[in-house]
């Protein structure tokens, strides 16, 4: 879960990491006010939960007071990776002499906390890491291992710092490791770490991501207003609706609706459809043990989506049982009805009961099943995927006539 730059900097400040003087502004007027408090020149930085801000024009320097309102208004009109700009961070301008990089993250291969430093900070750091890995210095810590000053000193020396530069660099490295640990971050990055012309070390930017699974034990973050948030940028109307119902859902640009069981098959099913010449309209996950109501809502998302021509359904009952699945589908068919053709397969835990529920409902209301083909364990899922594509094609042909 990403933090805004200003939130990360507040956490930095609490661990005595120097950050530029600055404040958050939510509109043009307060941006002007902050600029007056700090004194021009100031830098105006769009606050969004996405990278690529600089390249999107999200950072502006106002050399004089008169430039602030225009630049601030321009930034508030911007969208960066789908995120509207709702806040600006207005900060003092720094006289940059050097830009370094310091970052802390989880190394999942080594099961370690990796503290990384590089003499060349800035936006090209990944390029540097790829092309000249020898320029990246790192220390791996075990999960409960304390970072000792000499380890930070080695990193500072590896960045080519000397003499009076070493002490402030060591303090900053130890500080960012403390920030990382104190709030259970997955990432804490100072990029760039700036040495000013006056010789001061300042964290000019912060990039932080928190382990949202550990938020329950960090009341200090909720006190700062840091709570679970979505990071996908702009959502489509359907994605918003799905989110309200607690259904993981993404719109894709095809015409075959995916009505899968778990997330794993949700992803693999997309691969199957594409490799058989179909184009999936969405990704969806039912989550473990979905209720019939939730399953009905999932189907409604596809029925109401005008892009969806046909539906590919799959249920392998594990923790989520086939009888619940069948109840959800029947509930949807009775209450709302499916106008789009669907090929689906159902097997796994309680499949006999699932089949019985379908058969009973079909006897009672044969008309609600007229667009639906239900397969069982005897038919491989690959065939059902192909059948869904055929049904969607046939429907499209019908539409043309």
């Amino acid at each position: 879960m990403r933090l805004y730059e200003y939130e990360g900097k507040e956490l930095f400040r609490r661990e005595a990491i120097p950050v530029p003087r600055g404040k958050v502004a939510c509109d043009v007027e307060s941006a002007v006010q902050v600029a007056e408090e700090i004194g021009v020149p100031v830098v105006l930085k769009a606050q969004v939960l996405a990278g690529g801000r600089g390249k999107a024009g999200g950072v502006k320097v106002a050399a004089g007071r008169s430039e602030v309102p225009g630049l601030a208004a321009e930034l508030f009109r911007l969208k960066i990776s789908g995120f509207p700009v709702e806040k600006l961070l207005v900060e003092e301008c720094l006289n940059i002499k050097r830009e370094l990089y310091v970052g802390v993250s989880i190394d999942r291969v080594r099961y370690a906390i990796a503290v990384i430093a590089c003499a060349e900070g800035g936006v090209d750091i990944e390029e540097t890491a790829r092309k000249s890995p020898e320029k990246i210095a790192r220390v791996n810590l075990r999960v409960a291992e304390e970072m000792l000053p000499h380890q930070a000193l080695y990193l500072a020396k590896a960045m080519g710092l000397k003499g009076a530069e070493l002490r402030p660099a060591v303090d900053m490295i130890l500080g960012v490791v403390r920030v990382f640990r104190a709030h259970e971050a997955k990432l804490a990055e100072i990029n760039p770490l700036i040495i000013t012309a006056e010789g001061k070390f300042v964290a000019a930017d912060s990039r932080m991501s928190i382990d949202e699974d550990a938020l329950f034990r960090h009341p200090e973050l909720s006190q700062m207003g840091i709570e679970k948030r979505h990071e996908e940028g702009e959502l489509t109307e359907r994605e918003k609706k799905a989110r309200e119902d607690g259904i993981p859902y993404l719109d894709l640009d095809g015409d075959i609706g995916m009505f899968p069981g778990g997330a794993g098959f949700g992803i693999m099913g997309i691969d199957f459809l594409v490799s058989y010449g179909g184009r999936p309209a969405n990704f969806m996950d039912s989550g473990g043990g979905p209720t019939p109501e939730r399953l009905a809502k999932m189907l409604a998302l596809l029925e109401d989506n005008p892009n969806v021509v046909g539906i590919f359904g799959a249920r392998f009952g594990g923790i989520s049982r086939c009888d619940d699945f069948a109840r959800g589908v029947v509930m949807f068919l009775k209450e709302k009805g499916l106008t789009k053709p669907m090929a689906m397969r159902m097997t796994g835990n309680m499949w006999q009961e699932g089949v019985r529920i379908f058969e009973e409902a079909r006897k009672e209301h044969p008309e609600i099943f007229k667009n639906i083909e239900i397969y069982g364990i005897e038919t491989p899922i690959e065939h059902v995927a192909k059948r869904a594509i055929e049904l969607a094609r046939a429907r499209k042909e019908q539409g043309k006539k």
Binding site: E184, L187, D213, R217, G262, G264
Partner: protein, 288 residues
């Protein structure tokens, strides 16, 4: 034979008095799994489906000589539960819940390494050795005893693979759900090593998916294994996910994309299956 769990495994359920713990304890018992006890602090002395309940894992292990534990606790209690189990002498700990904090899983893994135990998960469907023991939440209908070992990150994909292996007559020695959490207690590479040593396992099917590093860690093992590995990776056509800062890219490089995973697996000598139906075809060609 099988790996990690078999008909001799003595299994306990941590959180046996809860809804999920009790429901799945019953299913596991019905399958023939030796559920010898369970834990729930404050409920010691009770019984669930004839299994005795203890306050602590230590008492439970002392009394029942259990060697496998399956955890049905809320995520925030898994650190305590798993470490207690490891310290009490449990050899294999299966973590069913998802969303285990990363720091907690790192601590659990360190403790497991120290004691020579193995932690599977979190967010796993469990382990099943068909015909012998079912530890977790997997639907037994999909599984038949046989000669292929399988390991997968996703529950639903595990069932499809098992279903395919069963209907084509290969069956499985053991099927392991590695888990869907971002940091896992055990890696693909470690499971491949176990399967390689198991005399009854003739080949291994591993099913990966987009994201993470565990598939990319396997090539050195695959290259030295005596048994063939069939690999599948979901997410070749998935929309590109979000990335995690520069540090993630510096540490993990190109790792994470389905195509990159397939590339390194194929280069290491794994046989790539694009659909479930490819698996029996490959196995037949290999004479498994």
């Amino acid at each position: 034979m099988a790996i990690l769990v078999d008909d001799k495994s003595r299994v306990i359920v941590q959180g046996i008095t809860g809804g999920a713990g009790s429901f799945h304890a019953k299913r596991m018992l019905e399958y023939g799994t030796k559920i010898v006890g369970g834990t729930s602090p404050g409920k010691g002395g009770q019984q669930v489906h004839s299994a005795p309940v203890f306050d602590t894992v230590k008492e439970c292990v002392d009394e029942t000589h259990a060697d496998v534990s399956v955890i049905f606790l809320p995520a925030q209690f898994v650190l305590d539960g798993a470490v207690e189990a490891i310290r009490a002498g449990i050899r294999t700990v299966v973590v069913i819940p998802e969303h285990i904090p990363v720091v907690d899983m790192m601590k659990i893994r360190e403790e497991a390494k120290k004691h020579g135990s193995l932690v599977i998960g979190g967010n796993t469907a469990g382990i099943i050795s068909p015909g012998k023991a079912n530890v977790g939440i997997m639907p037994d209908i999909a599984f038949k005893q046989g000669r292929v070992g399988t390991v997968s990150r996703s529950g639903s994909l595990t069932y499809y693979v098992a279903d395919t292996l069963s209907s084509f007559g290969f069956g499985e020695t053991t099927c392991i759900g590695l888990g869907g959490d971002p940091l896992l207690g055990t890696t693909f590479e470690e499971v491949l090593e176990l399967f390689d040593k198991d005399p009854d396992t003739r080949a291994v099917v591993m099913v990966g998916e987009i994201g993470g590093v565990y598939e990319e860690m396997t090539p050195p093992r695959i290259k030295t294994m005596a048994k063939p590995v069939i690999a599948m990776v979901a997410g070749v056509h998935a929309p590109r996910g979000k990335r995690m800062g520069h540090a993630g890219a510096i540490i993990e490089g190109a790792m994470g994309s389905a195509r990159e995973k397939l590339r390194v697996l194929e280069e290491a000598g794994a046989h790539i299956a694009h659909t479930f139906l490819d698996i029996p075809v490959i196995l037949s060609k290999l004479g498994v």
